[in-house]
Symmetry: C2
Subunit: 150 residues, 2 copies
DNA sequence: TTTCCATTTAGAATCATTATAAACGTTTGC
DNA sequence: GCAAACGTTTATAATGATTCTAAATGGAAA
């Protein structure tokens, strides 16, 4: 179930982007707001349609917020490169963007498309090999794949 | 269960497909031979080009081995559904097919496209949550993402 | 044989994503 | 304040993996 976090003001989002070396434009703030207000993972196309057909515009805003598809993709790529969000590769058809960049894992149900978090606190992994020379480990992704019971 | 053996004969491949409830056609045998002869993961497009532009045709063979792109995709999907191979979701741009269906994990280097196995023998994981009701865990994928050292 | 059913095929369609090149908006230098 | 310079956004085209479609093929069975 999805909850909305109202504790992200335009100010704090501004600071968040700035702290990650991202110039805060209105489009970037709009996308960041969507990502950080919901406790959910979104694909680029979902974010695009939430902004354009969705009911997420500010109450008092006179301007109809609209961001082009190209900008949505560019911005999510930028956010990921700057470490503001994390890409989750769990479905071959689309990339999910996760506003939680702290270590944690995922559970994925392809039949519903639902991607949920697994806290890293309770999970123990050991025995993973070191990176080969010239490389370093960027991260460890764990995806628990689910299927409908027969 | 099947073991990976570089000396797969046409007969043993035949049996392998039959044991997995797959009718062995010449195209399916050709694709299975590629997958099981190499200790490697391949994407559909790689298999397609190995068959068509690759150096895998018999020198003295009068028959030019050629499998259409549609059949390569259909066959790999069939193999995966029947449990003969496993899909590996590590790169957003393509699905890898892994002839090793026993539990094991992967290391992925996006900069080279190299996907290598991590044996499950040395890896310990605990504390993963159970599947929600109505679902079961199909598998646990671990991908150690690599990056070039700066 | 002739029929039937699965398999294969070429090519079109799809869909997420990326590239292109123009338009736009801000900042900066004067 | 004004204009060049630069980064950002945009519509649109292009890409590339994958899936779909509908026809052709081929083997098994009657």
């Amino acid at each position: 179930m999805e909850t909305i976090n109202p504790n992200h003001t335009v100010e704090s989002l501004n600071d968040l982007l700035t702290a990650h070396d991202i110039k805060p434009t209105s489009q970037r703030l709009e996308i960041a707001r969507l990502l950080f207000a919901h406790h959910n993972h979104f694909a680029a196309e979902e974010i695009f349609s939430m902004i354009n057909h969705g009911s997420h515009s500010q109450i008092n805003s006179a301007s109809q917020n609209s961001v082009s598809k190209a900008t949505v993709y560019n911005t999510l790529g930028l956010f990921a490169r700057k470490g503001l969000v994390r890409e989750v590769i769990a479905d071959p058809n689309k990339v999910f963007y996760d506003p939680n960049t702290r270590p944690h894992y995922h559970m994925y149900d392809p039949s519903s498309g639902e991607l949920t978090d697994i806290s890293a606190d309770t999970v123990q992994i050991s025995g993973l090999p070191a990176a080969p020379s010239g490389r370093e480990v960027e991260g460890v992704d764990i995806v628990v794949r689910l299927r409908r019971l027969e």
